[in-house]
């Protein structure tokens, strides 16, 4: 899933200091699971904003709504009737949802209420870890299903570097060395000899490097 973090309330307050009414808009998908932008967080942020506006002596109408998905125009249509009551939206969806909301409602100012961080998963409650950078050409078959592009601090395709120490990455004792993980996996799979295969120079054109990406599936288009 996409993992996001709540922005500090002061930063959000700074973004909405001119508005007279604001809709706090959550999303029921990834940001709900990672507890950054679901219905619960919408409620918490809206109450906090109301209190702060009150303290500032400002009369600001703060609305709340959480959509099934903000990255889907169909669900975004559900707020068409209510949105006119607000000058601005603070979206607690990921960066995709925030932009999709803004694209759908061009006359509304839409502000981010979260920092969208990465594609990852929860290791335990309250701890999330990155797993994929969407490079567009997956090489996990060669690396025992551990992604060096994401998990090696130098995204080495032929690691490890000389800084790998006791299973940890040179950048921090709290970060696992991806290449240690890859080697452990290859060993567990009885494929350690695969380690000696040189990983070819990567075509990064399917990655962010190639410019904004788009997928077109002719078979699905009507």
């Amino acid at each position: 899933m996409i993992v996001a973090e709540r922005k500090p309330i002061e930063e959000i307050l700074g973004q909405v200091k001119q508005v007279r009414s604001v809709l706090v808009l959550g999303c029921n998908e990834c940001v709900t699971v990672c507890e950054a932008g679901g219905k619960k967080e919408v409620g918490v942020l809206a109450s906090a904003l109301r209190m702060l506006f009150l303290q500032q002596g400002r009369e600001v109408n703060v609305g709340e709504r959480t959509l099934e998905r903000q990255c889907d125009t169909e669900y975004l249509e559900e707020i068409r009737d209510m949105i006119d009551a607000f000058d601005a939206v603070v979206s607690l969806a990921c960066g995709v949802g925030i932009q999709f909301t803004a694209e759908r409602y061009p006359s509304k100012a839409v502000y981010p209420g979260v920092n969208t961080c990465f594609m990852g998963a929860a290791l335990e409650r309250g701890v999330w870890s990155e797993r994929c950078q969407g490079c567009g050409s997956c090489i996990l078959a060669a690396t025992g299903a551990v992604c060096p592009i994401t998990r090696c601090a130098k995204r080495l395709l032929n690691g490890p570097c000389g800084g790998s120490t006791a299973g940890k990455c040179e950048i921090s004792k709290d970060v696992e060395c991806a290449w240690q993980l890859i080697i452990d996996r290859l060993k567990a799979l009885g494929r350690l000899e695969d380690y000696e295969r040189l990983s070819p120079i990567k075509d990064w054109s399917t990655d962010r490097a190639g410019g904004p990406r788009k997928i077109i599936r002719e078979d699905l288009r009507s």
Binding site: R155, L156, L157, N158, P160, G163, E170, Y195, E196, I201
Partner: protein
């Protein structure tokens, strides 16, 4: 085998001499006097001088410009190139720039992560890794082709090297990793600083078991300790460094005013012991900001005078 490039370092190694290299870090400013002075201190005692490339991710005068300085002094530079800061366009372009000044040695490295340096908030590139940089230079040199496939006019005539750390983890792939670098095109290797001689000798044994010492020239890396504090720091703070307790104790047990001397002696003893190890083709003396002591180390280790080729 006859040399494939005009590199003096290659000629010395192929002629069967033990090579001696050292390294200098460029200044944190634009005054060339600094690098010229360092090189003058060691020029008669080493065959080639590595110039580090923004080592530990601290921004410095560029390696290529410093190598050109050495070249202008009639010396033999080894251009260190990390893949942290440049993509494949810049790397190939800098290789050609170096080749245009007849810089004949290139050391391909990953580079420390930028978090260690003075620009921890910067991006890193890592478009290629160090092995892929090896492949890139060899392709440019041997096939006369850019990565994109177009021909290179006057291909770079470079003797190509890589680093190896016999002490980093996981130990079981340290030799396979060397084999991979050789397969990628490394012709010489400069190792991480060696303090744990048993572990290094064990590594060399595994290297010989696979015949790798016949495919690549291995220069054993040494760094003299200036003080017991430095020994402790290297032991605990530098990733991938293996400093045994005895060595730290030996430094700490020496009176403060004699510690520098003791550090040099340990370094000389290390070289002398490693001279006997089959497959060690030479030494890479990294005297960090202590270039003035390199001549003494070389002489005491019986590596002086340097051969002429």
């Amino acid at each position: 085998m006859s040399p494939k490039t005009p590199s003096k370092l290659e000629k010395i190694l192929r002629a069967g001499h033990r090579a001696v290299t050292s390294e200098c870090g460029p200044p944190r400013g634009s005054d060339p006097a600094h690098i010229v002075h360092k090189a003058q201190l060691i020029q008669r005692h080493v065959d080639a001088i590595n110039i580090t490339d923004n080592q530990t991710s601290v921004c410095r005068l560029c390696s290529l410009a410093a190598c050109i300085r050495l070249k202008l002094m009639g010396l033999e530079p080894v251009l260190q190139m990390v893949v942290r800061d440049r993509n494949r366009i810049a790397l190939q372009s800098d290789i050609l720039g170096a080749a245009s000044f007849d810089i004949h040695n290139l050391l391909c490295l990953s580079g420390d992560h930028q978090r260690f340096g003075d620009n921890a908030q910067g991006q890193n590139v890592f478009d290629l890794d160090s092995m892929q940089l090896l492949q890139t230079v060899r392709r440019m040199r041997d096939e006369g082709k850019f990565l994109g496939g177009d021909p290179v006019q006057r291909p770079p005539a470079m003797f190509v090297g890589a680093a190896a750390n016999p002490f980093a983890d996981p130990f079981e792939i340290r030799v396979p990793r060397l084999a991979k670098k050789v397969a990628a095109g490394a012709e010489f290797i400069q190792t991480q600083c060696i303090y744990n001689l048993e572990r290094f000798e064990k590594w060399m044994e595994l290297v010989r078991d696979r015949g790798l010492h016949e495919k690549v020239f291995i220069l054993a890396g040494v760094t003299p300790f200036k003080s017991a504090g430095m020994a402790r720091y290297m032991k605990s703070k530098v990733p991938g460094m293996d400093v045994p307790d005895e060595v730290v104790k030996r430094m700490a047990g020496t009176p403060k005013d004699k510690q520098a001397e003791e550090g040099i002696t340990i370094c000389v003893e290390t070289i002398q012991r490693l001279k006997a190890v089959e497959g060690v083709a030479g030494f890479h003396i990294m005297a960090i900001e202590w270039e003035e002591r390199v001549p003494e180390i070389v002489e005491r280790a019986g590596l002086f005078p340097r051969p002429t080729v």
